[in-house]
Symmetry: C2
Subunit: 343 residues, 2 copies
DNA sequence: GAATTAAATGTAAAAGCTTACATTTTGTTG
DNA sequence: CAACAAAATGTAAGCTTTTACATTTAATTC
């Protein structure tokens, strides 16, 4: 006979142990735990006593195998360095926890390749559902999700026509309403500091909204002075300096996010420029920084918390009911503060 | 014969399938995947072809059960709303990923009870190791960890005598060196805005350092004007206002973290007070805000990234080698900027 | 080329849970 | 109280891997 000699370091009690202690079968114990109303009161209390006496906790692997699910949800976000993602994730996790799910976190560093690798990792870790940011990814990634049949929800973007359902706001529309206002204020010479546009549909939509505003108002979008840079205050400052030292400096600079905008404002300060008198600056996200900086930043408020909560609800629903969520964009409203003024 | 009629929605291939396709036993396939050098070149390529042809991915639950481990690490942090935790967690996750582990995240909202519940959840999810913040928790929680034999590491604090090993900095010592400097600058009438002290050893250590500084310098620590409040800019502002409207307002206010400090500075601004001329303010953490606010904030720099990375390395080591990490505190250095001046 | 050793592969138990179906117990009704 | 239904419990298969040990195949030595 083949004998398995692997030694357990310490004994963790199993269903068997509980069953033996309570003098019932393992099936009854299992039922006590998973559908308690199917078992008689007296038996149930006896079993539950044994459970707590033996400090029984179901073995995760066994349960996962038997049920073919893990009550685990994966999320792949660009980075938690970005406060707005971190907070959205916090809300997502909170709601998940209320629904009895745990959160597996991975980060993509804004790279679709890394994202795809992380997708595989999380899926092989048995997640029941997956949360992704934005719609930008290889077709192969979508195919993979399709094949593995993993419920997947996109957030931080809203595009009803996309392959995956999304719970988020319309980056283009939000930036558009800000841009329209900027044009009304008379700005014609415009700069923009954006996050890297490659494999980042949110950043791209924001830039596009500005370009379209220009085109629609008879400006040549080729004249948009655009700089792409990394998510970092210092990088925003550097980009601002480059833009403003141009022979024909812009009177207004859109920033793709608040962190870049704050860098720009700080740089303006250092160069002795007054915001918004000498140059207007706007951001996107409405993180806490936006209200701290002087002047307070005109920016687009991203409903990260609402988004995180709703995403959790929707994704759990997809997992449990195999339903697709109803798609309705969240509102991302422009917060007009003091960093934007007429030209 | 009992027949299991549960229907699989879609067929995901198993070891069996691969074995059949490659005309070998399941054992050989398993070896190909887990210890490839034990199998002959020719067989291996044949098997690997079958693996990719069938898009085989090992079943997580089965693997977890057979190996009795999950390559998953759990982390329970107070909240990702706090940027400094989010960033530490990002670094932790990055390093974990490099080591082949995935991160399961839960949050405690600064409550030991919730933390304990989350501990149970994560452990029942089969984590191989656990990361916690700070040393403050019920003895029962420690017993539970002990009994389940889960390698656990504490971060964000450093206390070699504590029950659990920790990788972090000495909150008391860091605040002490700031406090000493404050005394040198002649401040005798001192206020402090702290995070809630209950079940938060970090906050407590920071307050204690200030109190001890007072005692050591002949001041009555009972005269420390202390307010506890929540982690929020606005709460910091309110606390500041309360302190400064005292009949005998402090000349200097310690804040337990940068967010509170920024609120205080903003409040000072609104009340027409000059920082640091009218009142000095200091923070703790050194988040980006600290350098943005005017005046720039004197604060303690917390090495969140280093801490996250080192914690990951140490915890993986604990899991894999059952070793206890060598304990050496990380440096948390005071950054003297412009919000602190002589009385 | 027989004997011996080493390498490659196969066999089947074991991990701990859920659940379909079978069996027993309890409760209800005429 | 027999007959039947409903409720409670039990039995054991099945989920997918890993791996100890057994067996077969290949390589080496004299």
């Amino acid at each position: 006979m083949v004998k398995n000699t692997r030694k357990k370091q310490l004994h963790v009690s199993t269903l068997q142990d509980v069953a033996r202690d309570a003098k019932v079968s393992t099936a009854t114990v299992s039922r006590c735990l998973n559908s308690p109303n199917q078992v008689a009161e007296a038996t149930r209390t006896r079993v539950m006593e044994a459970v707590s006496k033996l400090e029984y906790t179901p073995n995760f692997g066994a349960k996962a195998m038997a049920e073919n699910r893990t009550f685990t949800i994966g999320a792949i976000i660009p980075t938690m360095e970005n406060a707005v993602f971190a907070r959205g994730l916090q809300a997502f996790q909170d709601t998940l926890h209320k629904r009895g799910y745990t959160l597996l976190v991975a980060s993509s560093s804004y790279s679709s390749d890394l994202e795809q690798e992380q997708m595989r990792t999380l899926i092989s870790r048995g997640v029941d559902g997956l949360l992704l940011i934005g719609h930008d990814r290889h077709a192969s990634a979508l195919q993979y999700l399709e094949k593995r049949n993993i419920p997947t929800l996109v957030t931080w973007a809203y595009e009803p026509a996309a392959a995956l359902p999304s719970i988020g706001f319309d980056n283009y529309a939000a930036m558009q309403s800000l841009a329209d206002r900027v044009f009304q204020l008379g700005h014609k010479n415009i700069g923009m500091i954006s996050a890297q546009i490659k494999s980042n549909d949110r950043a791209r939509a924001r830039v596009l909204a500005v370009q379209d505003m220009m085109t629609n108002n008879g400006l040549d979008k080729a004249h948009l002075k655009l700089i792409e840079t990394e998510y970092d205050i210092e990088k925003g400052a550097i980009a601002f300096e480059t833009l403003i030292k141009n022979s024909d400096p812009p009177t207004m600079i859109f920033c793709g996010n608040d962190v870049l905008a704050v860098g720009a404002i700080r740089s303006a300060h250092k160069l002795g420029l007054n915001v918004p008198k000498d140059v207007s600056i706007t951001g996107f996200d409405d993180i806490e920084l936006a209200k701290i900086v002087i002047p307070e930043l005109t920016t687009v408020h991203v409903p990260h918390q609402e988004m995180g909560n709703k995403a959790a609800v929707a994704l759990v629903d997809m997992v449990e009911n195999k339903s697709s969520p109803l798609l309705k964009p969240l509102e991302a409203i422009v917060k007009f503060r003091n960093s934007l003024a007429a030209v």
